[in-house]
Amino acid sequence: MIKNVKALLFYAGAFALCVPPLFVFAWMIMTGLKTGIQNISYPPEFLFTPTLENFRAVFQQYNFFRYLMNSLIIATLATAISLVLGLPAAYSIAKYRQNKIGLIILVARMTPFVSYLLPWYIIFRYLKLIDTYTALTVTHLIITMPMVIWLMVSFFESIPAELEDAAMIDGCSCWQSFLRIVLPLVRNGIATSAIMSFIFSWNQFLFSLILSGPKTKTVPVAVYNFISYGKIDWAGIGAAATLIVLPVSVFAFFVRKSIVQGLTMGALKD
């Protein structure tokens, strides 16, 4: 009897936890599949004939494919640069306990993004780099590089030092031992930090809001601009939001275990 009540409580809890995310996601997709008029009718329609018209409009009228490509290019560049520069740095911080470099990472995490934005806006305006991939990638590095380093330090710390010593004795240079011995051992960590870095760059709004333009607009800014075209195009927003959120959500779903690991390794150690 008590066992049944307990089981019932567990499933009631499961229901309560699943409904809020699923409802918002379902509402997002439904908004994208309704017509403009259906979207502003009250009471809201739960059953309706879905239309793909909004998705077509998003690509044809709003040129959304270009914005998706922009986001893809910038997030990929920022992630790649962060890995190439961040991996050796994180390794060195972990191996030689270079806490002073860790301090820069902490400052980078704590400083409000607007504090970077104002100087960068002034500098990029002066250099005529507003609305270029360079400007956006550079500013996205402010987020992705500390993230990669911060995550990777804890992964590198979990590698036993004897392994490398053995490699060194066998005549490997430190680059060789880093590339051939150490990196393959932390490939889970690399995958995690690459994915986290990509997701956070893809989701970044503030830097792109100010530093992008018609040529380099990223998806968060593009969907936000659906509001400023005079009246609000809810159907378009629903379709565009679905297109933006689904890739990162699917991404996160498949790698959720390593995200947990990546998130927590930093928080659990002292």
């Binding site: 009250y42 400052v107 704590m110 100087p119 968060p220």
Partner: protein, 297 residues
Amino acid sequence: MKNVLASISRFVDRRQPFFFPAPAVAILFLIVILPIVFNLYLTFTKWTIGLGQPRFIGFDNFVELFGDERVWNGVKVMVYFSGASLALELALGLAIALYFNRAFKGSELVQAIYIIPFAATPVAVALIWRIMLNPEIGVMNYLLTSVGLPPSLWVSSEHMVIPSLVMVDVWKWTPMITLIVLAGLKSLPSDPYEAARLDGANALQIFWYITLPLIRPVLIAALMLRSLDNLKEFDMLYTITQGGPGIASETLYLYSYNVGFNFFKAGYGSALMVVVFLIVLVFNILMNRLRHDTPAL
């Protein structure tokens, strides 16, 4: 040629602690430290972006700040919004982590669904919330009225705007706290629990006297991690309310953005950003102290 390469390689090898982090540190210096220094310089100037040159005015910006009503409003809104959302996220995050800590059939799937909002693009989901919270056509009011409750004005009301935004923030970010706390729970030692059970402690006592003290450092670490983003919440506020109605949801951070990029007052905006940074810094220093003051069990 081979000799040269080999000697370069040896040179780098002997200086690994320098050469490995050097490129990253150089870039970080350029993209992080330099703008911060520039920002600090701007705090001592009066300058409208695009008009003339920065003019040095000493501490005038910081003096002006004390007499600015929107600064005090911003601090008030920030304390209200962040206090409420962080407290709720921490409490709910802990409760849900305790729930997930007991394996049950299907818990993997529930967990996977529950954490979806965490990775979702903030602007995109905030826009969807904005539709759902619309007082006239929004589905939230439909749900309220269909269970017999009165409709709410949500973000259109000065009184409801912060609670509504807190709700959205809790929806999006509680999973992150849960994930961290859950990992902490899984790494707790089992001895104290066995001893407590032998002594006949009930579930509530076990939670209060064993789990809570043991998990406290992890809770505080999760709070610190979350506070870094929560105190600087921008995307959601900007997308849903832009600080409105009036300035009822304009946090100090949002105000600093408005001063910088809507009024183009670079100097005064920079001074406000320094204040935001100091608030984040002081909060984290206090929390860090709390974390290390944890009494031994």
